[in-house]
Amino acid sequence: MKVVELVEVTKVYELPRGSIKALDNVSASIEVGEFISVMGPSGSGKTTLLNIIGCLDMPTSGRVVIGGENINGLGDDQLTKIRRDKIGFVFQQFNLIPTLTALENIEYPMILKGLNGHEERGKELLRSVGLDEQLGENKPNELSGGEQQRVAVARALANDPDIILADEPTGNLDTKTSKDIMGLLKATNERGKTIIVVTHDPLVASYTKRTFKLVDGRVDRVGVFA
C-alpha cells in the first residue's frame, strides 16, 4: 500500500533575480513500512521535497497524495491536522519546545489531538526511546543533544503517524550518538513505521533500505541498500 505518492511534482521559488526550480518534475511512490534516505548535494532540493511530503509546503505543480489523501488545494487547518495526525517530524536542531519538559514535549501532540491517557503513553514512549523516566522532568536545555533527539523521536511517534520525516537528524550529533539515533529509527521502522531521512552521511544512508539521489531538483538515481 502506498503511503506517499508524488506525481510530476515541481516546486519553483520566485525570486527577484529570477526563479529557482527546487524540484523538477519529481515522481515517486513510497510503500508503507519503507525506510528511505534522500541524499544529494547542498541545494539539490532535499529539504524542499521533505517539506512537501510533510504538508509544510505546496508544490507549484504536480500531485501529492499522503496516506491516501490528496493534499493539493487543502486549507491551512486541514494541512495542520494532517501534520498533527499523520506525520512525525524529527529536525536537525531537535526543536523541542523550551518551556515544556521532555515528557510534556512528547505529550504535546497528543494533547493537541485531544487524546486521553497522554501522560501514560508519554512515559511509555520515553522508555521506548531509551530514556529514564526521571529525565522526563528535565527541560530541553537540561538534556544532551542525543537525549533531546531521542525525545524528538518519541514526540514524532506520539500520535502514531503514517510517516516519520527526518531532515538530517544526525547533523548535530557525534558519530556514536548518530548511530544510537539511527538504531532507534531502524528499530522503529522494524515495528512497521515508514521513515524518510534526509542526509549527507553515507553511514546514515546505510541504515536505510532505499536511497533517492537528488541532483538539481531531479531524482537522479534510486539505489537499493539492503
Binding site: 487547518d77 495542520t80 498533527r84 495526525d85 517530524f89 529536525f91 518551556t99 515544556l100 501532540p109 493537541l112
Partner: protein, 373 residues
C-alpha cells in the same frame, strides 16, 4: 488548558519584562479607578451640599437696592407661592460670643414653606423670637429657650433648623431667622432683598420665569430672575465633565501601558518565531497560536487590572478621607463601579494591545518560521 499553561510559562520566562508590562497596566488602572472615585465622590459631596430644588425661581434686584413692594405684588400674581425675604449681615451675640451672622427676615407663615425644623417650633405671626440655623446652633451650643442678642434686642430662640446646605436662594445654616416685623424693627428697609417663587409643576418653571421678566423688566431691567433648575443642571453637567476629564487623564496612562504591552508582545513573537514554526509544523493550528498569545496579554491585563483596582481604591480612600473628610462616598455603588470599570479597561487595553502581535504570530508561515534563527 495547555495554551493557558504555555502563556503562563512564557510570561515567567522573561519575568522582569512581564513585571514592567504589568506595572504599566497597574498605573493606568489605578489612575482610572482613583480619579473615577474622586470625581464621583466630589459629585456626591456636591449634590449633598447643594440644596437642590428644581421648582424654584429666585428674583434678585438688578441695579437697584431691593425688589420694590409694587414689583413684589406683580410677582405674587404670576406665581403660586412667592416668598419675600430680607437679609442683613450683622453682629450677634450668641452664648456670650460675638459673631458676624446673616439675619433673614421672613413672613412667619412663609418659613415652613422653605425651611424645615430640627427642634422647637416655627415663629408665630409677628413674633419677636427667632430661629437659628443648624451650624450656628452646633458651633455655639445653642438650645431652644436661650436668647440671642442682636443690637439692643434679645430674641428668644424658639426653634433650630435642619441643615440645608448651600443654596442659591438663602443659606440658613449659619443664619438667624426672624419675622418680618422683627426685621423691620431692627433695620429700616423698604422692598425685599430677594423673592423666592415656588412653582407647582416643574414644567412651568421656564414659563413663570419668562412671565416675571416680562412684567418687571418692561422699561428697564430691575430684576434678575434665576431658575434653580438651570443652575442645578449646570452644576451636574460640570461634575459630569469633571469626572470624564479625570477618567480621560487616567486613560492616557492606560494607552501608554497598552503600547508597552504591544511592544513586549511584539518582541516576544519575534523571539519565538522559530518556536512558533516548530509548534505549527507539528500540528498546532493558527487559532491555537492566536489563543496562546491572547492568553498572555489577558494574564498581564488581569493581574495589572486587579492590582491596579485595589491600589486605585486605596488611593481613592485616602483622597476621600484627606480632602473630602468623608469615607462614605467611597462605598457608594457609583464609586465602587469605577473599581470594575478600571479593571475592565486594564484587561481590555491589554487584550487589544495583544491582538496585533497574536495575529502576526498566528500568520507566520511554518516553513519560514522554522528557518528563522
Amino acid at each position: 488548558m495547555i495554551f493557558f499553561e504555555f502563556a503562563k510559562r512564557n510570561l515567567t520566562r522573561h519575568k522582569f519584562r512581564s513585571v514592567l508590562a504589568i506595572i504599566g497596566i497597574v498605573i493606568g488602572v489605578m489612575a482610572i479607578t482613583a480619579l473615577g472615585i474622586l470625581g464621583n465622590s466630589v459629585r456626591l459631596a456636591a449634590s449633598e451640599q447643594l440644596y437642590m430644588i428644581g421648582n424654584e425661581v429666585v428674583v434678585f434686584p438688578y441695579g437697584e437696592e431691593a425688589v420694590s413692594e409694587d414689583n413684589f405684588k406683580l410677582i405674587e400674581k404670576t406665581a403660586d407661592v412667592a416668598i419675600p425675604i430680607n437679609s442683613m449681615t450683622d453682629k450677634a451675640v450668641l452664648n456670650g460670643e460675638s459673631e458676624l451672622v446673616m439675619i433673614y427676615g421672613m413672613r412667619s407663615e412663609d418659613i415652613p414653606k422653605l425651611l424645615e425644623k430640627e427642634d422647637g417650633q416655627f415663629l408665630k405671626h409677628g413674633s419677636l423670637n427667632c430661629l437659628v440655623g443648624s451650624r450656628l446652633a452646633d458651633n455655639y451650643e445653642l438650645r431652644v429657650g436661650e436668647r440671642a442678642t442682636i443690637k439692643s434686642q434679645k430674641p428668644r430662640i424658639v426653634g433650630i433648623l435642619k441643615e440645608r446646605g448651600i443654596g442659591f436662594d438663602i443659606n440658613p445654616d449659619n443664619a438667624i431667622i426672624v419675622s418680618d416685623k422683627m426685621f423691620s424693627s431692627l433695620y429700616n428697609s423698604s422692598g425685599y432683598n430677594l423673592v423666592v417663587v415656588k412653582v407647582d409643576k416643574i414644567e412651568d418653571v421656564e414659563e413663570v420665569r419668562k412671565e416675571i421678566e416680562d412684567r418687571l423688566n418692561k422699561k428697564e431691567k430691575v430684576v434678575l430672575v434665576m431658575e434653580m433648575k438651570m443652575i442645578v443642571e449646570g452644576i451636574k453637567e460640570f461634575f459630569n465633565i469633571l469626572s470624564m476629564f479625570l477618567i480621560g487623564i487616567g486613560s492616557i496612562s492606560l494607552v501608554v501601558a497598552g503600547v508597552s504591552i504591544l511592544n513586549v508582545m511584539m518582541m516576544s513573537t519575534v523571539e519565538r518565531t522559530k518556536e512558533i514554526g516548530v509548534m505549527r509544523a507539528i500540528g498546532t493550528s493558527k487559532r491555537e497560536i492566536l489563543r496562546m498569545f491572547l492568553f498572555e496579554s489577558l494574564i498581564l491585563g488581569a493581574i495589572g487590572g486587579v492590582i491596579g483596582a485595589i491600589f486605585g481604591f486605596g488611593v481613592g480612600f485616602l483622597v476621600d478621607v484627606l480632602i473630602l473628610k468623608e469615607a462614605s462616598y467611597l462605598f457608594a455603588p457609583s464609586s465602587i463601579l469605577y473599581v470594575f470599570v478600571g479593571t475592565a479597561f486594564g484587561i481590555g487595553t491589554s487584550v487589544i494591545s495583544g491582538l496585533y502581535p497574536a495575529w502576526k504570530a498566528s500568520r507566520l508561515k511554518p516553513i519560514e518560521a522554522l528557518r528563522y534563527e
